[in-house]
């Protein structure tokens, strides 16, 4: 079978792709890390992995298909055929997962910088400390109400935190950075925590936070012009926290033509009934010069270098680069390149490939080709019958997707019929080699189709009956979905794993049937 060389080659290539991904997944903690660029590497990886997989498979098949014990004689060892298929699945999985290894390498690299506990602590620190640097405000001080179906805006010059009023530019109205890793409202809790320190006058806690941030900065050898003490001095102004120097989050930034700032107040207030859309034109700044007029020169310098205008915060911390870098690390935890559904998809693909090869192995090239053509023609014919001819007759009360369901059920019946035909006692093989090929290709879909059909039937008798009661189709589903459906939809990995396992068990019995079939007369 030459299984050992192909597994070794496959494992080696997987290691190489993993190492490549590990290298590529390095997070840039430097100051240029937020520059946008199109990374061609993933496309190259996918292309290379496909090419390598095809080459390896072809090379392997040249040897594997040569000496075929099952075709040439009758191996006596009990489950030899089943074991051969399992080895084939293993070889196909190893050979089809090069890009998976690359992506996993990337994910592992992202998670390798710190322990998860340390990472969680760091992003909490960065998230909370971002309150004290340049950033947006939560409350814009404008309340909207509707009078006679028209929006009316009321301006307010304060915001409220824990029952107390603060100026709109207070630190207690600032937004903080959040990271995807901070699930279950952790980001909100952090924000509330740090604002609580301010409200309670806990200067030492704020200083501690800034010192923690400074440790992170030093760890990454990033540049900062502030010590924690200086930073605290610049921003801590109890109790209103509205008089502070804006600490930049980047060393400098370039003024773009498209940058805008809030200039004149174009919001129609309660006194005005003009139908002005709040969001339109309010922020329009037509030129760089106008934008520059609105820059806070207490906190920033303006410099023009080679006709390009730069804003230099007088004081800056490397918040942008750290936020960007840690956001990437966060993604490797929360939204990794590889998760279980994707891995299962690779396994399913590999299993399908193994069945294509296995069917060739146990029958013959001629039967395989005839089966391919026959299956293709049958698929086209049944599709034509279902979607063209029978369209108006498929008014089943059961399914909203009548034609698709009919097509699936038709093929389910065909497969089950072929299976019964194959398993029935015959004197000779006849055309069963062709049937066997089609069965090996299609039986993996039997359980999924059955499950899908069952789900549709249950849906019809449950939540689909209520769709007329709700404006939103999905609301009916949300309100009346059964636990059976919920389990299937919410646990794709478990379902797919169960289906795969079910098929593996089926093959144990089916390979026995194939062995018995082999003993039949040729003609």
């Amino acid at each position: 079978m030459r299984i050992v060389p192909v597994i070794i080659a496959g494992l080696l290539l997987n290691i190489i792709f993993f190492a490549w991904g590990f290298d590529h997944g390095a997070v840039d903690f430097g100051p240029e890390n937020s520059m946008y660029y199109i990374d061609p590497t993933p496309a190259i990886v996918i292309m290379l992995s496909v090419v390598m997989a095809v080459l390896i498979v072809i090379l392997w098949l040249v040897f594997y298909l040569r000496n075929n014990a099952f075709k040439s004689y009758y191996p006596i060892k009990g489950k030899a055929l089943y074991k051969e298929w399992l080895l084939l699945v293993l070889a196909c999985i190893i050979n089809c997962t090069y890009s998976l290894s690359f992506m996993y390498g990337q994910d592992i690299r992202g998670r390798s910088y710190f322990s998860e506990e340390e990472f969680s602590h760091r992003i909490d620190v960065i998230s909370m400390v971002s309150l004290f640097a340049d950033g947006g405000f939560e409350d814009d001080g404008v309340d909207q109400t509707w009078v006679n179906d028209r929006p009316v805006y009321k301006k307010r010059n304060y915001t409220t935190f824990r029952g107390k009023r603060y100026p709109l530019n207070s630190l207690l109205n600032k937004e903080t950075a959040d990271f995807s890793y901070q699930r279950d409202g952790k980001d909100s809790l952090n924000q509330d925590r740090v604002k609580g320190w301010l409200a309670e006058g806990r200067k030492d806690s704020v200083l501690w936070l800034m010192k923690e941030f400074d440790k992170i900065v030093k760890d990454h050898k990033a540049k900062t012009s502030l010590t924690p003490e200086k930073w605290l001095e610049l921003v801590y102004n109890y109790p209103a926290f509205s008089k502070y120097i804006t600490v930049g989050r980047i060393e400098r930034y370039e003024v773009q033509e498209t940058m805008r700032a809030v200039s004149a107040d174009n919001v129609p207030y309660e006194e005005e009934v003009a139908m002005v859309d709040y969001a339109v034109e309010a922020d329009t700044v037509t030129s760089t010069e106008e934008y520059i007029k609105h820059i806070d020169t207490i906190s920033n310098y303006i410099r023009v270098i080679d006709s390009v205008t730069y804003i230099y915060p007088k004081y800056a911390v490397p918040l942008n680069q750290l936020e960007h870098a840690y956001a990437n690390v966060s993604q490797s935890y929360v939204n990794p390149e590889i998760d279980r559904p994707i891995a299962m998809a690779y396994v399913c693909f590999a299993m399908g490939l193994s069945l294509l090869i296995f069917s060739f192995r146990v029958t013959s090239g001629r039967a395989w080709l005839i089966a391919l053509v026959a299956f293709g023609l049958a698929a086209l014919l049944t599709a034509f019958v279902t979607f063209a001819i029978l369209e108006k007759y498929l008014a089943s009360p059961f399914f909203s997707r009548n034609q698709e369901m009919f097509y699936f059920i038709l093929w389910l019946c065909i497969v089950l019929g072929l299976l019964l035909y194959f398993l029935s006692g015959k004197r000779s093989k006849g055309h069963t080699a062709i049937v066997l090929n089609i069965l090996l290709w299609l039986t993996p879909f039997v359980l999924p189709v059955l499950l899908f059909t069952a789900k549709e039937i249950v849906a019809y008798y449950t939540w689909k009956r209520y769709t007329g009661e709700y404006d939103d189709y999905w609301m009916a589903k949300h309100m009346h979905r059964t636990r059976f459906e919920a389990f299937i939809e919410d646990n794709p990995v478990i379902i797919i794993s169960a289906l795969v396992l079910g098929f593996v068990i089926f093959m144990y019995f089916f390979t026995n049937a194939i062995k018995r079939w082999k003993g039949l007369a040729e003609s």
Binding site: R66, Y73, Y74, I76, K77, A80, R516, G519
Partner: protein, 382 residues
């Protein structure tokens, strides 16, 4: 004296006469009969020693010692009885796309027996073999296999059919045989030992690392036999094993068939088809002649009552008419010229000596002659 004792005495005689090649073959046969790993190792060690070409004295001593040990071990082993393994009852096979029909054919095969199938081309030899091995099903009649088997697959693990054109195998011969042994349940500690013994048994030791395409057809046949031996079948069906073999190779292969079939502890039934009539007849216990699919046995119960003519095949430079004039006066029934040779049929009162006397008396120039009164050769003549 049982079969094993008889064969043992034979081997001892061969050793006395210094026929080491044959002795080694028989020693390997006995070793394989033991099914004992320690004997496998001993014999392999002996073979390795013999590769160094020691003197005759050493060979005699070492082989004698091994044979003694084998004798002690195998004497305690029970020899299986001769038993029927296959019976074909009135089998007929009609191809739907042609008018040719095989049968009815009846035959019984016992362990230790060799049945030869002969006949002109296209008369059903291969069809019969394929029916017997289960590749084709019968139109009527049945084939009964007298050994336990769970299903058709299990049946076919116990019988080996070697067609005339075999598959090409890739890789070295040794690797392929190890692979076959593994497929047939030989544990790892036995696998290579048994393979080496079988390779030596069939004279393939020099070719173990050769690949299939580098073997001559004779050695390919022996390679198939080696693979067959590893499978330990109950029945061997083999189609034209002697085709493409030189005369010496034919003799060797037939001798191997005899030894394999008549093994005292692992007897098998063999059915082989061939065009080499005389060689097959010498080796076989029964010969079946097929003409237009119809069976005619060489040895049957009707022989006692059948009128047996004297049939002589001979070659002469004289013309048919001249020969006819001479022989017709001496009881000639018919004289046919058949592919370069003459086949003369005389009345049943004549004997081979009468023919020789006539030929001498008339100074008939004979290149060769053969009495085919008891050969299937006579069936080829219409």
């Amino acid at each position: 004296m049982n079969e094993f004792q008889r064969q043992y005495e034979e081997v001892r005689d061969l050793l006395r006469f210094g026929d080491y090649a044959l002795v080694i073959k028989r020693a390997i046969d006995f070793t394989l009969d033991t099914r004992s790993v320690s004997f496998y190792k001993k014999t392999n060690a002996l073979l390795d020693m013999l590769d160094d070409n020691p003197g005759d004295e050493v060979k005699t001593r070492e082989l004698g010692t091994l044979l003694d040990e084998l004798h002690v071990f195998l004497s305690a082993k029970e020899t299986p009885k001769r038993e029927k393994v296959l019976e074909a009852i009135h089998i007929q096979k009609q191809y739907s796309h042609s008018s040719f029909a095989l049968g009815p054919v009846n035959l019984s095969l016992y362990t230790g027996d060799i049945v030869g199938l002969v006949g002109e081309n296209g008369n059903g030899k291969t069809t019969l073999l394929r029916v017997l091995c289960g590749e084709l099903y019968t139109t009527s009649g049945k084939v009964e296999y007298a050994f336990p088997h769970k299903d058709a697959y299990d049946l076919r693990t116990q019988l080996v059919y070697i067609p005339q054109r075999t598959d090409t195998w890739y890789g070295s011969m040794f690797e392929n045989l190890v692979f076959t042994a593994a497929m047939y349940g030989y544990p790892p500690e036995e696998n290579e030992l048994v393979v080496n013994l079988i390779i030596a048994r069939l004279g393939l030791r020099k070719f173990r690392s050769h690949s299939w395409k580098h073997l001559s057809s004779g050695y390919k046949m022996r390679f198939e036999l080696a693979r067959m031996l590893l499978r330990r079948p109950k029945i061997l069906l083999i189609d034209e094993p002697l085709a493409n073999l030189d005369i010496l190779a034919q003799q060797t292969v037939l001798e191997d068939f005899r030894a394999i079939a008549k093994s005292p502890f692992r007897p098998i039934g063999i059915i082989l088809s061939s065009q080499q009539l005389y060689e097959v007849e010498k080796t076989s216990d029964q010969v079946i002649f097929l003409k237009q699919g119809v069976q005619k046995n060489l040895h049957n119960d009707e022989a006692a009552t059948e009128i047996k003519h004297l049939v002589i095949e001979f070659e002469s430079e004289w013309t048919q008419s001249r020969l006819n004039d001479i022989f017709v006066a001496n009881g000639l029934v018919s004289l046919q010229f058949n592919g370069g040779t003459y086949v003369a049929t005389f009345s049943n009162e004549k004997s081979i000596h009468d023919f020789m006397n006539i030929a001498i008396a008339n100074a008939v120039p004979l290149v060769y002659f053969r009495n085919i009164s008891n050969s299937t050769r006579r069936f080829f003549v219409s």
